[in-house]
Amino acid sequence: MECNKEPMLNIVKHRYLYFFISLVVILPGIAALLFWGLPTGIDFTGGSLLEIKFESALPSSENVLEILTEFGFPDAKIQTAGDDKLIIRTKTMSEGAEASILAEIESRFKTNVVLDRFESVGPSIGKEVAQRAAGAVGLAALGILAYITYAFRGVDHAFRYGAAAIMAMLHDVILVLGVESILGHFLGWEADALFLTALLTVIGFSVHDSIVVFDRIRENERLHRQLDYETLVNHSIVQTLDRSINTQLTVMLTLLTLVLFGGNTIRHFVIILLIGVFSGTYSSIFNAAPILVVWENKEWKTWFKRTPV
């Protein structure tokens, strides 16, 4: 049996350690979500966003807020971006309001400005987008669950594979949401349509990775009927480890070039992808496959007893 010759890295044996690591990483994010919530952008809440480039030095935020207050936006949030830009977020503006505000800013600060970006989303559509987005994530999960159950129909308990992949995926979704919440609190990031795109991509990649490991289990189960399940799963993880690391490396490298050279507009998007894709690989190796073992042994029966696992 050649499997005895493989270096036996035992990942499955320490599964509870890896579950614990996941928990430790995820918990701060969950806490942040509970305390601060997910900072959602105007795509989901409705509102207006102006990105204004100044030809001269930036005026102070207070002075700009003064103008916005005159136009009926005392709650406007003003951020600087780079050394020549202001990003202003307000509740939804009526048509033409942005032009009057720009004109007022130009005359008050005696400078020329360029409106680099102006977005305005009605409050009702924002709410609908948020609802449908949650629906889209749920639908994606169901579709994937159904597909995996189908694709693994030849193995015992095919449904478990789908369910384990979804659990690992939820791990990544919660991690990404938590990170967004923390970064939102400290850096003022907001979840927008791009964030949603990143989240859905993370889901895709997470499942992609889980399937690669599961596929090996599927194959090994046919080849080595005599092996016990735990050894089989561990063996499969180890066999796919080279691939997991290499693919992870190439995706990380491409994402890193995007962070470094891709410009400001998508940096937020790419950083979320980077975190999510990394988490996706981790969860498929250290969570998804070990969950199968936990399930096979029905270990939860002993979780709350005094006998060690």
Binding site: E95, R117, G122, A136, L200, V207, T254, G263, L273
Partner: protein
């Protein structure tokens, strides 16, 4: 290996086609009745412009017919074309929304007022045109001296076209209704404002016997002869109306020509410099990302790695050609999606090569290892890519419902990437590798495979 040789011709044809489609300044394809323009469509976030999402201004449970939505879309398209914006996009998004994209347009307010303008009704002096001459112009677009806010599109105006004088416009109309004449033909009747009725009665009194044209959005819809001076500010429009078409016209005159009222629920304006900056940066990022991945593959997997690099170049060529052919509007996230799919494409090769190495370590010959590598890696490549396709399909649906072209573009590039990579990374790599193996005696040089 027969099966591999069989693939050489299709691969070469695909490559040649892709290179042809990717030629810069492509003249387009014109074969008989088949015409296709080929160019890279850049999204608003890359070229700058205005995007607006319009929603039917009706209660949420109101049924909105696709036909009305289509008509509204067509009318808006006509109007934005008047802005002189090339490549304006007007699309139906979901069942109650219309998405308008105006690349290059910088003034959101001008764009919105053009989109939302009501139908322009004009009473136009046809002067001494004969009945026949006037009837030729029936149902055609004409030029008048009444200028709308829209900028004229110079490409469609010819200097020889006559410009007619507008007597009064819809602004002078107070009330509109529908009735039938003595023999039962439907008529659209209207009442003018006091100022309008003075101008109109003076004009008709001075031009009895001449032709008058009633023009809606510059299109002649009726060419009556002035039989008598029309005083008192009351008039009627007769034409070949049915009750329905008379009603439609009355509604257009009252509320504008859109069959359903629309409100703007979302706008987005991107300045041109921001767009250009993003484009350059993402291009650089894409090139660097690709080079880094290629270097990694060549260093780690040696000969097969180089072959995978070749397949990756082919992947980039084919994908870009598909983008230009469909065409897929490239947005920033779309480019990010493309760069990400480079990783997906490489993953298929990584899966295969890792299996190949395993088989080589078990003492198989290189030919055997290659066959087994492909055979054994295939189920995992198939299943993982199919799950990505499921995700991108759901994303695409989500994006189209909301006119979120960013999400839509991303999911489309992701899906195309997955499909193309299945061919280039799985089939083309295998063919290239076998071709190479026939040329060099690799059997006794496993170091070429990193083993």
């Amino acid at each position: 290996m027969k099966s591999n040789q069989r693939w050489i011709i299709p691969i070469l044809i695909l490559l040649a086609l892709s290179i042809y489609i990717n030629l810069p300044n492509h003249p387009g394809i014109h074969l008989g009745n088949f015409h296709k323009e080929i160019k890279t469509q850049l999204g608003l976030d890359l070229v700058g412009g205005v995007q607006a999402l319009l929603e039917a201004d009706l209660p949420e449970d109101a049924e909105i017919s696709q036909e009305n939505l289509q008509t509204a879309r067509g009318i808006i398209e006509d109007r934005v074309n008047g802005l002189g914006v090339s490549e304006a996009v007007v699309q139906i998004a979901g069942d109650r929304r219309i998405l308008v994209e105006l690349p290059g347009q910088q003034d959101p307010d001008q764009a919105l007022s053009t989109i939302k303008e009501t139908a322009l009704l004009e009473f136009v002096d046809f002067g001494d045109l004969s009945v026949q001459e006037a009837s030729i112009l029936y149902n055609t677009k004409i030029k008048t001296d009444y200028q709308t806010s829209a900028v004229e599109d110079p490409s469609t105006s010819s200097p020889n076209e006559p410009v007619f004088h507008t007597v009064i416009t819809g602004a002078s109309i107070k009330q509109v209704g529908v009735t039938t004449d003595a023999i039962g033909n439907p008529l659209v009747i209207f009442e003018m404002t006091p100022e309008g009725s003075i101008i109109f009665s003076e004009f008709t009194a001075a031009n009895i016997g001449s032709m008058l044209a009633i023009v809606l959005d510059k299109e002649v819809i009726s060419t009556p002869r002035i039989e008598d001076a029309i005083t008192g500010g009351q008039g009627s429009i007769s034409g070949n109306f049915t009750i329905e078409s008379a009603n439609d016209l009355a509604i257009q005159l009252r509320y504008g020509s859109l069959p359903i009222p629309l409100k703007v629920v979302q706008t987005q304006t991107i300045g041109p410099t921001l767009g250009e900056d993003s484009l350059n940066k993402s291009l650089i990022a894409g090139i660097i990302g690709m080079v880094v991945v290629m270097v990694f593959m060549a260093l780690y997997y040696r000969l097969p790695g180089l072959v995978a690099d070749l397949a990756l170049l082919m992947y980039a060529l084919v994908t870009f050609a598909v983008y230009r052919w469909i065409p897929v509007t490239l947005t920033l996230p779309g480019i990010a999606g493309f760069i990400l799919t480079l990783g997906v494409a490489v993953d298929a090769n990584v899966l295969i090569f890792e299996r190949m190495k395993e088989e080589l370590r078990r003492g198989r010959t290189i030919q055997q290892a290659i066959s087994l590598g492909w055979e054994r890696a295939w189920p995992s490549i198939r299943d993982s890519n199919l799950s990505t396709l499921i995700t991108s399909a759901i994303l695409y649906w989500f994006g189209s419902t909301f006119g979120a072209s960013i999400v839509k573009g991303f999911s489309l590039t992701l899906a195309i990437g997955v499909l193309v990579s299945l061919f280039t990374a799985v089939t083309a790599t295998r063919v290239f590798l076998h071709l190479l193996l026939d040329k060099i005696k690799a059997e006794d040089r496993p170091e070429l495979f990193g083993v």
